[in-house]
């Protein structure tokens, strides 16, 4: 790489290549004219137009010119950098030029394709875009990408089926795994379920072997009854504090259970959803791993440091009980983290019309699982709580807490199939029981699902479309009347059943907010953790080195959880196998001379990548944690952060180039790389036509757009300014675009105060698929421009020119 840096501080020799892209560009833009124009720009040594710049010949031409003409900066005016920047960067590198000395002008998606019928204006725009690219490339600096070492250890948070699978996969690959579980045993929800759909195999029978594998695996260190307290560091080098809460039972426990007999305190067992009791000293279920007991100190008589009862102590022959056990905090270092913290089930007690908690025979689907389970509180007999008899009819009510205004809006994914499975389980044991399923839609979309649905219908399960509006109880018999409308037959029904099962939905964990903060994750509006890309990076979290698996990411069944867990393990494994990652050289470099250590940059950083050392008056950037959004750079008032590849000087140079002529007729647009720039690309691909007066400047995130850039554009006489980013909550950099919003709102206030029409500054949220949104915003802004008077332009120019500079 060292040879690439020979270009530093040499005289600028810029090469410009204008691509025809067949007729894609040349059909609208006069490419020859653009290249002639480019040839006259400062420092441009070579300017050529070319049919296909990206072809092998096109690339060879650039490489040859770099050597022949000793070019040290390259501009290619062609398609979107999102498409071919890597191609040309590679070509530069092959010719011995540092890849950070390359810049692209997007004259296809942002020009020829969107101004098909305005050839002259499109050519003028292409010239402008090339001019801006040349202005920026002149200020580009060579950079080397830093390498970050990846520790070859992983941590898995949550030991349900997803966490178990991820841990086993990683451990089998040969990596050390720390598996952290909040509950006293691993197993999660799957351990509570009786049978699994669509194959109907016994849940615990297939889970228990995996659980004991985890317990035995030499590469897995298991922490149960433990919680993550703090996460520091970044991809490759996380430092995680884990709080190991005391069990009050030591490793000497042989799980004989003598203590349980002696314990005088009973409580409902969480594992059986309160349908069975446990003692204050207990093991959650027979197959629990680790196979040892735990004392629930909230229940135990020995609270508040008083030893009132010693019955378990006396009963334990192996003297394995230790009431003095203290919580331990462990500091673990890992390279990758998999978050598999699972989900909770919806609590239907708020739906008063279904009478859950009022009518004993209204139960939830999770309670049903424990009732039908042979190891459960009723020994597998489907008894109804009121009289402990097998009911002659059972109703299942779907979508309780899902797809509704009263609960969550989303579909919980598993409840339809779970109910179908449950109905078949009843039919298997008690064929005479009449079964009704009240549904909105039956979603049997997976492999083998439709067969199971058909089987249920064949077995005589009655499916009625239309949820009951209300359940009414007969106080004497505790039988239930279900009243509602059959929406297929358009008639009202009143159905009498012995027991009703509410098919409750899946909800994000209550502590997912805490987990989100700990691991710098982001959540969808539904509350589940968001993946880095919904299609192409579905198990990566937006923060590097962190991966998602199981219901923490979205509601899903066992098969999908296992699939996702293995995928997450593979993704984490790739990082650890490589042992290092390179970080794109677009991270900020602090300039200590300018820095006043105010710490504002650290406050806006979505990744906690900036460390402020107030004592030593230093700001440091943890390069591996930084994603390069640049919102710190926009926040800094003192030019103390050098945002590599998107420096203040480079962006200002682009603005200057674009506003050199006819600035008052132009819209200067700042678009973020991931959503709005891509949205504008999409508008191009779809040939959506919009006015050609817009000039787009690309930043990685809208958070990079410093108010100074906007003010500078106005000071240069720009007619209007557009700042566009991802939709709030969808930001590629977690929440950096909230800073954008704040800054634009401040600017609007300022403009109002100065008597400048604030319509001239627009903020747009547009996703990569919302090309029309971008196009229509530009049309709308063009209308504003048309009404603009020269006096107004002059006013904003003068006011901001005076105002500008700040310090």
């Amino acid at each position: 790489m060292a040879t690439e840096e020979k270009t530093e501080r040499e005289a600028l020799r810029i090469g410009v290549y204008v691509c025809h892209c067949g007729l894609n560009i040349a059909g609208t833009v006069n490419c020859e004219e653009v290249s002639h124009f480019a040839a006259a720009l400062p420092h441009v040594v070579v300017a050529k137009d070319n049919r296909y710049a990206c072809s092998d010949q096109g690339q060879e031409l650039i490489k040859k010119d770099i050597k022949e003409h000793e070019l040290n900066r390259i501009v290619v005016a062609s398609c979107s950098p999102r498409l071919h920047e890597p191609t040309f960067r590679k070509a530069c590198e092959e010719a011995g030029l540092n890849k950070y000395l390359f810049e692209m002008a997007n004259i296809r998606e942002h020009c020829s394709w969107v101004h098909l019928h305005e050839k002259e204006k499109a050519t003028e725009k292409a010239k402008d875009l090339v001019k801006a690219a040349v202005a920026k490339v002149a200020l580009l600096e060579p950079a080397t990408e830093t390498e970050v070492q990846i520790l070859r250890k992983a941590m898995v948070i949550g030991a349900g089926i997803a966490g178990i699978q991820a841990a086993l996969d990683l451990a089998d690959t040969g990596y050390k795994v720390y598996l952290v579980e909040k509950e006293p045993s691993i197993g999660g929800r799957m351990a509570q379920i009786d049978k699994t759909f669509p194959t109907m195999d016994c849940s615990i029978c297939i889970l228990a072997p995996k659980m004991s594998d985890v317990g035995r695996h030499p590469n897995i260190e298991l922490f149960t009854n433990s919680e993550v307290q703090e996460v520091k560091g970044h991809i490759g080098n996380f430092k995680v504090k884990v709080l190991k809460k005391p069990r009050y039972v030591t490793h000497d426990c042989s799980a004989c259970g003598d203590c349980v007999e002696a314990c005088p305190v009973t409580a409902p067992n969480e594992f059986d959803v309160g349908l069975a009791t446990r003692r204050a000293i207990y093991t959650p279920f027979a197959q629990a791993v680790p196979s040892t007991y735990i004392i629930d100190r909230d229940m135990c008589l020995n609270k508040e440091g008083l030893m009132a009862c010693d019955k378990c102590l006396k009963a334990c022959e192996r003297e394995a009980i230790d009431f003095d056990m203290q919580p331990e905090t462990l500091e673990l270092e890992v390279g990758t983290i998999i978050v598999a913290t699972g989900a909770e089930v919806h609590d239907p007690s708020s739906l008063l019309n279904y009478g859950y908690t009022q009518y004993p025979n209204v139960i939830t689907s999770l309670e049903f699982e424990r009732l039908i389970n042979a190891g459960g509180p009723s020994g597998g007999n489907l008894i109804r709580p009121s009289d402990k008899k097998i009911p002659d009819s059972v109703a299942f009510i779907q979508c309780v807490g899902s797809r509704s205004e009263k609960g969550k809006h989303y579909c919980s994914n598993v409840c339809c199939m779970n109910t179908i499975k449950d109905s078949l389980l009843i039919k298997e044991h008690w064929p005479q029981v009449k079964i009704y399923v009240f549904y909105v839609d039956i979603r049997a979309f997976g492999k083998g699902f439709e067969d199971l649905y058909r089987r249920a219908k064949e077995e005589g399960v009655i499916f009625i479309r239309g949820l009951p509006a209300e359940i009414v109880e007969n106080h004497k018999t505790h039988d239930l009347w279900l009243i509602g409308e059959n929406t297929l037959q358009k008639e009202l029904y009143r159905v009498n059943v012995g027991m009703a099962v509410l098919s409750v939905g899946i909800e994000p964990c209550q502590d997912s907010g805490v987990i989100q903060r700990l691991f710098t994750l982001s959540r969808t509006p539904d509350g589940f953790f968001m993946e880095a890309h919904p299609k192409l990076r579905p198990v990566d979290a937006p923060t590097g080195g962190i991966f998602l698996a199981g219901c923490a990411e979205s509601p899903k069944d066992i098969k999908d959880s296992v699939t996702q867990a293995s995928a997450a393990a593979a993704r984490a494994g790739i990082l650890m196998a490589q042992g290092k990652v390179t970080v794109e050289a677009i991270t900020p470099i602090p300039i200590p001379e300018n820095c006043r250590v105010c710490g504002l940059c650290a406050q806006v950083c979505p990744y906690n990548a900036i460390i402020v050392d107030k004592e030593r008056k230093l700001v440091k950037v943890a390069e591996a944690a930084c994603a390069g959004c640049g919102t710190c750079g926009a926040e800094c008032q003192f030019e103390a952060l050098h945002m590599r590849h998107f420096t203040n000087a480079q962006i200002t140079a682009q603005i200057d180039a674009l506003t050199e002529e006819h600035a008052d007729e132009k819209i200067i647009a700042f678009c973020c790389n991931w959503c709005s720039y891509a949205g504008a690309d999409f508008a191009g691909v779809s040939r959506m036509q919009y006015p050609p007066n817009v000039r787009i400047i690309r930043t990685m995130c809208s958070g990079r757009v410093s108010p100074a850039f906007v003010e500078h554009a106005f000071a240069r006489g720009a007619g209007a300014v557009l700042v566009a980013g991802c939709h709030p909550g969808d930001c590629h950099y977690i929440d950096a675009n909230y800073q954008t919003q704040k800054r634009i709102e401040r600017l609007w206030k300022k403009m109002e105060g100065l008597g400048i029409d604030k319509e001239r500054l627009q903020l747009l949220w547009a996703s990569a698929s919302e090309g029309e949104r971008v196009a229509s915003k530009i049309r709308e802004m063009q209308a504003t421009l048309n009404k603009l008077t020269p006096e107004e332009v002059e006013k904003s120019r003068a006011v901001f020119a005076r105002n500008h500079g700040r310090g």
Partner: protein, 107 residues
């Protein structure tokens, strides 16, 4: 509705009376108080982990107010009252006839 149901502490979330609540064999206690030995220190009342006792309004021979049983069904027979009573005035014995009294209903 947190409280007790047949001697089982239930919480808001796990509201249902466990199916095996009646089958749970906990030793039922008979609390014996030798009222005239009591000097009314109140340790047993204060430290009973199940809060089974309260101060009575009957004066004893020593001129003290001995404890009285509020809810014998809640007694877990841990024997802590016996251990901390300075005057050997309280002890518990196991009830022999099982299930004869229906105490310990929810409050």
């Amino acid at each position: 509705m947190p409280g007790t149901m047949d001697g089982v502490d239930v919480s808001q979330k796990l509201w249902r009376k466990p199916l095996d609540a009646e089958k749970v064999k906990l030793t039922k206690a008979k609390i014996q108080i030798i009222t005239d030995l009591c000097k009314g220190c109140g340790f047993c009342i204060e430290f009973c982990p199940k809060k089974v006792l309260e101060r009575s309004d009957q004066i004893n021979k020593k001129g003290a107010y001995p404890p009285r049983v509020v809810d014998e069904g809640k007694c877990a027979m841990c024997g802590f009252c016996t251990a901390i009573c300075p005057d050997f005035a309280i002890y518990t014995v196991e009830k022999t006839c099982e299930g004869s009294s229906k105490d310990g209903e929810d409050k």
